[in-house]
């Protein structure tokens, strides 16, 4: 992603010379599909290079950046309860000598400080679940927990999701194909949502074109599948379905590797027990719950298709999935550290752990979310109790 200089007017962050229309929304969607990539904050050639984000920051940044680059209005509600929106019209950064890009980055950091996976609910609205309204550039919100950007809607109906996470950092974004039912909305504050145009910021959601509360009637367990079914143009083959579920588990384990490594690096830097805030940032409690759910999804799929397993053309993947989910027998050290064919996870330099062993260790409660423990204990190589407080 690159950008030319945008002119700010009379001290505003940028001037809105254009308006949101169905056409600009379609272009925004295409921009997200093609430009909003996992390396958007880590690629030195990216306009947003080196920007620190957490999950909500990344989602707001996606919408704000397109608005900035295309001189469109951008506004969100003031989470502190003021009646005036936070918008590109703000003049706070109108200092002499400040570049337009620096002004925009100051604005982004300000939005990051105010926004969260709670506030974004009020800056978006739930949409109809069909291909007209669920588009790249929308968000999938687990209210007060996490927010994903929708990067693409695949022909099979699967959502290509992309997201940052906590703690706020310059990081490559996590990518996932679709989601499990832990993300299903509990109420109308979450779900699949589109950004409100500034003119609709204080409009009742049901008056906005494209609004629908139908997705909240989907049973929570079935929500991911019903969304997929509504959005699909072609039916997933059993092999595709298996590969997607398997890859999702694999990706989540790899994300955990990154997350644990971040914690270990931080722990080595501070060399003391983590305080409450650090503990929250570096523990993997929710991530581990999510990973267990993904293992369970794969297991349910394998169990439900076992009788008709001959339909899978990729026999090697099927066998690997069976082994990952069903095999309770402990492997030898040599076996467990040998990566499986379809998912290689190196949890420390030169050491692999296969997915079956990760699942087995989760089942046995050997894996811990405690960020004060060393790497081997985090992955269940050894049992260790922390002397540091848990928060």
């Amino acid at each position: 992603m690159s950008a030319t200089s945008i002119s700010g007017a009379y001290g505003a962050v940028w001037e809105s010379r254009n308006q949101w229309t169905p056409e600009t929304e379609a272009k925004y969607s295409e921009w997200v599909r093609t430009q909003w990539n996992a390396d958007v904050f880590t690629n030195p050639n990216s306009f947003l290079y080196n920007l620190q984000t957490d999950c909500a920051d990344a989602a707001y940044t996606m919408r704000a950046t397109y608005s900035y680059l295309n001189q469109l209005p951008f506004a969100v509600r003031d989470p502190s309860g003021g009646s005036k929106p936070i918008s590109n019209e703000m003049t706070r950064w109108d200092h002499q000598g400040i570049s337009d890009k620096d002004k925009f980055f100051e604005f982004l950091k300000y939005i990051h400080n105010l926004g969260s996976s709670t506030t974004i609910s009020e800056d978006t609205y739930p949409v109809e679940i069909n291909r007209n309204w669920v588009r790249a550039g929308d968000v999938l919100l687990r209210y007060t927990h996490h927010v994903y950007e929708i990067k693409d809607v695949r022909n099979t109906g699967l959502l290509h999701l992309i997201a940052s996470t906590v703690p706020r950092a310059v990081r490559k974004l996590n990518e996932n194909l679709h989601f499990n039912s832990s993300v299903s909305p509990l109420d109308e504050n979450g779900g699949i949502r589109a950004f409100r145009e500034p003119k609709d910021l204080f409009t009742p959601a049901w008056k906005i074109t494209g609004y629908s509360n139908e997705q909240f009637k989907f049973p929570r367990e079935d929500y991911p599948d019903l969304v997929k079914a509504r959005l699909s143009l072609v039916k997933e083959t059993p092999d595709d379905e298996l590969r997607n579920l398997y890859e999702r588990v694999c990706r989540k384990v790899k994300e955990r590797v990154d997350s644990v490594n971040e914690a270990i690096a931080y722990q080595e830097k501070v060399n003391r027990c983590m305080n409450a805030s650090e503990f929250d940032d570096y523990s993997t409690t929710s991530r581990d719950q999510d990973l267990r759910a993904e293992f369970q999804n794969l297991k349910s799929f394998v169990a439900s298709r076992n009788a008709s397993r001959n339909q899978f053309r990729n026999v090697a993947l099927w066998n690997e999935a069976v082994k990952v989910t069903m095999d309770q027998k402990p492997d030898s050290t040599a076996q467990m550290t040998k990566s499986f064919q379809f998912c290689a996870v190196n949890y420390k330099s030169g050491f692999a752990l296969n997915l079956k062993e990760v699942r087995r260790r989760f089942d046995l409660g050997l894996i811990t979310d405690d960020p004060n423990l060393k790497l081997e204990a985090r992955w269940g190589d050894e049992k260790a109790a922390s002397t540091c407080p848990r928060y």
Binding site: G81, S117, T144, L186, D187, S277, R287
Partner: protein, 238 residues
């Protein structure tokens, strides 16, 4: 590093005590004395106590001006039609949004789950500076619903500026006078209807809400600065 801890601790006490006072039927006087009692018994750091006491005293001060806050958002004739369509409390006894929520709560029994989503407190510091405090629950990875807090001052445009210095925070809060509170809470009820409510209040009066159960979905929204709500029955399974 002490600042976030102090804030979180204080806000935990304050938010827990302030929460749901209206629906729980606790009057402001009782609430104020509860806050003071808790603050005096707690083992909070001195700065934290000052913070809590400041908010407590501000809360007392707000009581004096309660009359103008307590009218609530009126239920219009159009809103009555929508309430009736969704089978919610309506009629001559239902004059305000608060009446709707109280009627619904009465019909639904005791809430199984209550949660504060966020709370904003707008107040003036003794030197007349406008300040805001936001408290919210954060379930981001690892946080498990931790209460977080942020204090703001306002810029020339009336927009919030996060305050980061502890000294500023203490100075702002000592003798603070609260003139507005806003909060969003959620309530979940069990059998028979599995009603869930998401309610936004200002100064203890309901301004917006969403109600959903097995048979209907209903929303009322009041825009900032407006005194009339826009309500809609969004689905009824007959």
């Amino acid at each position: 590093m002490r600042m976030p801890l102090i804030f979180i601790f204080c806000c935990l006490v304050i938010a827990a005590l302030f929460f749901d006072r209206k629906l729980a039927g606790v009057d402001h006087k009782t609430m104020t004395s509860r806050i003071e009692e808790t603050v005096s018994k707690s083992e909070m750091l001195p700065e934290a106590k000052a913070f809590a006491q400041a908010v407590s005293s501000g809360y007392k001060n707000r009581d004096e001006g309660k009359s103008q806050d307590s009218a609530g958002i009126r239920v219009s004739a159009e809103n009555q039609v929508e309430l009736q369509r969704c089978g919610l409390p309506f009629g001559s006894d239902v004059k305000t949004m608060d009446d709707v929520i109280q009627g619904l709560s009465r019909e639904s029994g005791k809430a199984e789950k209550r949660a504060l989503i966020w709370r904003n407190v707008h107040f003036k510091s003794p030197d007349g500076e406008e300040r805001r405090l936001r408290v919210w629950r954060d379930f981001s990875i690892g946080l498990r619903g931790k209460l977080r807090a942020q204090l703001y001052t306002l810029d020339e445009e009336g927009l919030p500026v996060p305050l980061e210095q502890e000294q500023d925070a203490e100075k702002s809060l000592e003798g603070a006078k609260i003139h507005e509170t806003q909060e969003k809470v959620s309530l979940t009820f069990g059998e028979p209807k599995h009603l869930s409510l998401s309610i936004e209040m200002k100064n203890g009066s309901v301004r917006s809400f969403e109600a959903k159960d097995d048979s209907m979905a209903f929303q009322c929204f009041t825009a900032p600065g407006s005194e009339s709500a826009d309500c809609k029955c969004l689905g009824r399974a007959d």
